[in-house]
Symmetry: C2
Subunit: 571 residues, 2 copies
């Protein structure tokens, strides 16, 4: 019994329907009306795919940092140019060539993944008929163990424009050790692969580059192309303007935030604290703020740049509560990035000390263990709400570390602000009421049906990946540009993965990494936010984006981050 293809209503007396290759075909007869209508949606392609195209090479590439070390780590690939597809009279590829391509989904889910696969599939159908597309099941482990299925139109169709990664599922394994690279080599040899498409975030694309380098060094014919995926929006560069999934996830969260804002204003008695997924960077919080105009949005990168303490963060929010109370408003909406704790230096110190202490001793009931904490850490620890203290002590991962993502930061802030406001009440600097409501939005957004933007973008990424492999490219990440123009005018190319890389020193060795793109404090989205937030704090500028529409005048809108970063909106 596999996880895939077990939609119940398809289970007839003879069992579920299967493709000629044995893959279970998902039954769509029980799809919801919207799911059904999305199956028929055909994302429009960039015009370069309407005709023949050729490959135009850019200048030699370098690296995002430590080019000399990157060159050592990628002797075959380093310096290769990025490429662009250009319309041409003659095709740059052999239309008679039958390719064998593998595709893998890696890491957390993001809306649109199915459309990348559909794009690769349709590219092959249109430009290299008779090709085979393999799907590796369950992420990179599927490559190592050669867990694979053949993707046919019949198998693929039920997933077109649908959310989730369930067509072949994903996984978080990495191909790291020499043995694992050998396993991957074995698989691509067994399947006789011409190409492999890795759909993933920063880590997965780093892995894609290492595989590309390895396969080339072994003189294998298998080329590797990456695709930028993550709702967090922290995989981007000058040539990769956005990762897919960010648009949909932010719109889903913003729908909910907008609804809560209307509720807050109608009811007039709650402060809603909304923690938003997005661990490393605060792009999601920033985008949702631009879409909804909350009273406060905490941007982790700013907290970190100003080395703010937890108390400073708390006080900033408490100040807004007091200002609003003076205006007779006892309600509001506050957005908090999931990774806030990671951005506050003093909490990082506390967690490090706790990890150290608890690795060697237990927490005695009387609390004597706390004496081992350095005085500033101890003061911080005892200032935290009781339940957060418990979470810090109890919730540990298998390595004995605090599971920061499980800490309910929104509840912690509510509790600390309650304490702060009580103090201000005694000082008679606050005379209002404060009731907090906590929310966490995460899973709701990772698997939503992709917006038209993500559906179209992903489909184009799939076509890009197909065309790059078809023209013999390797070690590139598919990159679609000019994204604020109509999709026919989007540019298509591939960016050298090594150009996105820097090195980090780990266990005495240099390791290549694609640096996470954090919120830039001098970037247009943050500047726009800063120009408006004081107004948002006290006035109710709440905006209600409403549910994502797939047709009608608003259906093809993108997001503020993209429009501001690409200069399509003024700061």
């Amino acid at each position: 019994m596999t996880i895939m293809g077990t939609v119940a209503n398809g289970a007839e007396a003879g069992g579920p329907k299967k493709t000629a290759e044995g893959a279970v075909v998902r039954d769509i007869s029980s799809y919801s009306p919207v799911q059904g209508s999305r199956l028929e949606h055909k994302p429009p392609l960039p015009s370069v795919f309407h005709s023949n195209f050729r490959i135009s090479h850019g200048p030699p590439s370098s690296a995002a940092g430590n080019a000399a070390e990157i060159e050592k780590l990628f002797p075959c690939l380093f310096g290769q140019p990025s490429v662009q597809l250009r319309p041409s009279e003659r095709a740059a590829y052999n239309a008679d060539q039958k390719l064998k391509i593998g595709v893998v989904l890696s890491g957390g889910q993001a809306p649109g993944g199915h459309n990348v696969i559909a794009g690769i599939f349709d590219y092959l159908q249109e430009h290299a008929e008779g090709s085979i597309l393999y799907g590796f099941r369950g992420g990179p482990a599927g490559i190592m163990r050669n867990k694979v299925l053949v993707i046919t139109e019949e198998f693929l169709f039920p997933f077109r424009n649908q959310g989730g990664f369930d067509i072949i599922c994903s996984g978080r394994d990495k191909i790291e050790t020499p043995e694992q690279f050998l396993q991957a080599e074995q698989t691509v040899k067994t399947l006789d692969l011409d190409g492999l498409v890795v759909i993933g975030g920063d880590d997965s694309n780093t892995n894609a580059a290492l595989l590309a380098e390895y396969f080339r060094s072994r003189n294998l014919k298998t080329h590797v192309i990456g695709c930028p995926k993550t709702i967090d929006g922290d995989l981007k560069s000058s040539h990769v303007p956005i990762s897919f999934g960010f648009d949909t996830a932010c719109k889903i969260y913003s729908e909910m935030i907008g609804n809560i804002m209307v509720d807050a204003r109608s009811t007039g008695k709650y402060y809603h604290f909304v923690r938003l997924m997005g661990r490393a960077a605060s792009h999601i919080t920033l985008e949702c703020a631009l879409q909804t105009h909350p009273n406060v949005a905490v941007i982790g990168e700013e907290v970190n740049a100003h080395k703010q303490t937890l108390r400073q963060v708390t006080n900033t929010i408490a100040d807004v509560v007091c200002k609003r109370a003076a205006m007779g408003k006892h309600y509001g909406v506050i957005l908090i990035p999931e990774g806030l704790i990671d951005f506050i230096p003093e909490i990082q110190h506390l967690i490090a000390e706790l990890n150290e202490i608890l690795a060697t001793s237990v927490c005695d009931e009387a609390g004597h263990w706390k004496e081992k904490l350095a005085p500033p850490c101890r003061a911080l620890f005892v200032s935290l709400p009781h339940n957060i203290q418990e979470e810090l002590l109890l919730e540990r991962d298998p390595h004995g570390n605090v599971q920061v993502a499980r800490i309910e930061t929104e509840k912690m802030l509510i509790s600390m602000i309650e304490t702060e406001l009580l103090a201000r009440k005694h000082e008679e600097t606050f005379a209002g009421t404060f009731k907090g409501q906590a929310h966490f939005f995460g899973y709701e957004g990772r698997c939503g049906m992709p917006t038209n933007f993500d559906a179209t973008y992903c489909y184009a990424l799939g076509f890009a990946a197909g065309s790059l492999l078809h023209t013999g490219q390797t070690g590139l990440i598919a990159s679609i540009g000019n994204l604020t123009a109509p999709s026919t005018d989007w540019t298509v190319g591939g960016t050298a993965l090594t150009e996105l890389m820097d090195v980090e020193r780990r266990k005495g060795k240099f390791k290549p990494v694609i640096k996470k793109a954090m919120v830039e404090l001098d970037g247009a989205p943050f500047k726009k936010f800063v120009s408006l937030r004081d107004q948002w704090a006290v006035e109710d500028s709440y905006l209600c984006p409403g549910p994502i529409q797939f047709s009608g005048p608003t259906a093809n809108d993108t997001n503020y981050t993209l429009k501001l970063e690409l200069g399509a909106l003024d700061v």
Copy 2:
């Protein structure tokens, strides 16, 4: 400074724009694209409003129970017939009459409230030009204190088809004491009101009937009409097929649940426990189950009817987890009604004992106070997870009672199932893994933009309320029928509020109440659910309804509960 009309971007140098009557006009220039597009939406009306209409009276009405007592409580109104609007050559009303009508929003928010007000307003514009519509601000308190504004097209327009109750806000006050009735009398006399429309749930409509009776007994000209509002779906009868807001709220929750299901299946490692708003009845949970096909949906009424213990509820879910584990599935989605705890008799006993004990003594650290609990209650209490014990002890309302709605039932169940599965692991009847994720969906749904169904239904309710007042009716609740047909074929009428009533004995007196409509275990929606749930438990029949669409083929769909109850879908 008022809560209303403070949209920031409207604040020009000269302050926000106001109507001639002084009400702040909300600035729509900063609305989101979807908000903007909804402003232009014109809900279609039942065809009876396309021409002249007359009033057709039904037979004398009775009561839902204790008719003799209801008659004593409503000597003027009892027995009056319900009415239907019928097309006719001559109008049943005087088109030259200029009416003065007041409207009030009462209780929790539900999507569509603004459209009821728009419906009343447009009815008056079309059929009684020159009439005045007053909006009472902040709920029934606004009636008692004569806090009122004049609703003009300019003021109303920004709220058309928008979520929330923020046009005039709502409140939870009741008009109960003789002094309060006198205050209301004073207000309707001051404003010279011909009619009052009360938009609310069961309590508010009971209050509407009492007001109608009181005004008539005092020979005031002010008539009173109710409108059925509550996302909980527990205000309905044979003539009031559904309360407004239920459709939108369930679709918003189901969108999120569907997304989480796709996530669960794609990731394969979490059981998501989703607690859904809807305190008294489990209609929302049942409807969301029909829309999404979860592995388990707990229906409070069933738990109560079978006098299930918390352990039985826990074990039912644990059994499904075990069955699925045996199939290699370590993920799932479980829906839980917010009011679950209210349905479990043993927990009710425990809470009653706790309220009693804690009213007179404190909880000593050593736990000796627990000895005051009766043995079954004590056993139940100590079996509860630590944090739930704390919530039971700490979270009390101003009356000293446990705040049941604040108890995180979903976390309690996760914790208890963990314990149960650990025991089964030791007994070797469970060999899988179980990781719970907790969610609560409530506020997100109460203030969403109304679906086309709710927008149209509410607009028709507003027209109905206007027409009933215009034709001299009182003590009725606006009732729209034939709701599964196209909206032009909907029937329009008013149902005698006393017909929905029974009495309850409170403080030695009979009090009239509109009984909450609970999930009927022999009703079509529950039967449909029962016929499918065993399949849903083990197979992944997950359905992803996707975001609410306002245009396209799926935009006018209603919900399963309505379709099944009205026989438009087979069980």
